[in-house]
């Protein structure tokens, strides 16, 4: 019953609960007295006046809000500053151009090497090579490759 007395006093009980409490109060002098005292306490609490926030309150809140760092997404950062966006776009284009240019050079070097590789037969029957002194340290594989020596 103690959990319902306050609800009964401030009128927050459901209809069925209110009727149940009223029925109990009619038979219980102690709870009836308690309900009256709680009603008196509630009335006393009503006597405290409200205070008004100071005149500078709103200004202070707005000042603190204005001092907050802006929380923006990276895309919002670009859209809010077109110069930065243009600079970033230029940088991106320059990076792409440099990247493309440097990769175009590599195949040219490879193509220049190909004729040398294609003439391996010429290189193997090159007389100057056969006149060279034998290697100081030759492994087995090297000996097999030079059976004449």
């Amino acid at each position: 019953m103690e959990k319902k007395i306050l609800g009964y006093v401030d009128g927050r009980l459901k209809e069925s609960e209110r009727l149940e409490v009223e029925k109990h109060l009619a038979a219980c002098a102690g709870c009836r007295l308690r309900a009256n005292e709680f009603r008196a306490v509630s009335g006393l609490l009503d006597e405290l006046p409200m205070i008004e926030p100071s005149e500078a309150f709103d200004l202070r809140v707005h000042a603190r809000v204005a001092a907050e760092p802006l929380k923006q997404s990276w895309w919002a950062w670009f859209t809010s500053s077109p110069r930065v966006a243009v600079a970033a776009a230029m940088l991106l284009l320059a990076s792409v151009w440099v990247g493309t240019h440097s990769t175009n050079n590599q195949p040219q070097i490879a193509q220049e090497d190909i004729p040398v590789l294609e003439n391996l037969d010429v290189l193997s029957s090159f007389d100057v090579l056969s006149e060279l002194p034998p290697p100081v340290q030759a492994d087995d594989g090297g000996q097999q490759q030079n059976p004449q020596m």
């Binding site: 959990k3 008196a40 306490v41 006393l44 609490l45 008004e52 809140v61 603190r64």
Partner: protein
């Protein structure tokens, strides 16, 4: 709040206008210091502003708002519990004015009925002190229940307890107030 979340600054001003007085009053009655109460209320609004983008309307806005305020108030009360000055019984009689300024009682003050005025002020002071003496959680429950008129479910969410535990908390608080204010209760009950 959803308009504030969408970036509408004017809606934030409306929220401020709507809730500044209830918040400042609640916090003032929790911490019993006007300047501190206003600082805490500003902090509440700042936190609301910071959290606007992450706000999900899973509960009533007032529940969320007073949950922030209650947590700040409870932390503040606990931090300053041992720092608060005891009021000396030998100190000159002061009127604890509700406008936040402590006024020295001026007997020559022009008032239509000075005796009646004194009785009323003494009565208000007793009520304020009775509320102040409640344990913090009970005090918060009484203030949210009595002055903000929030329902039991909302208060339970703010104080992070069950509705049943909240009702027991409120019953104990009213019991304490009934005893502390016994002379006034007897008078008021007549």
């Amino acid at each position: 709040m959803l308009d504030v979340k969408a970036g509408d600054e004017q809606s934030f001003t409306l929220l401020l206008y709507r809730y500044r007085s209830p918040l400042v009053n609640f916090l003032y009655r929790m911490v019993r210091n006007r300047e501190q109460a206003e600082d805490l209320a500003q902090e509440v609004f700042l936190r609301v502003y910071r959290a606007r983008e992450d706000y999900v309307p899973s509960a009533k806005f007032t529940t969320w708002l007073f949950r922030i305020a209650t947590n700040l108030a409870l932390n503040s009360v606990r931090d300053t519990r041992y720092q608060r000055m005891e009021i000396s019984l030998d100190a000159p009689v002061m009127l604890d004015a509700e406008d936040g300024e402590e006024k020295t009682l001026d007997v020559a003050e022009k008032h239509p009925n000075i005796e009646q005025h004194l009785v009323e002020e003494t009565q208000k002071k007793m009520i304020r002190h009775a509320i102040e003496k409640l344990p913090e959680k009970q005090r918060a429950a009484v203030l949210l229940h009595k002055y903000q008129e929030l329902d039991y479910g909302e208060i339970a969410k703010i104080l992070q307890c069950s509705e049943s535990a909240l009702k027991s908390l409120l019953f104990r608080a009213y019991e304490t107030l009934r005893v502390e204010l016994a002379p006034l209760v007897a008078q008021h009950g007549k």
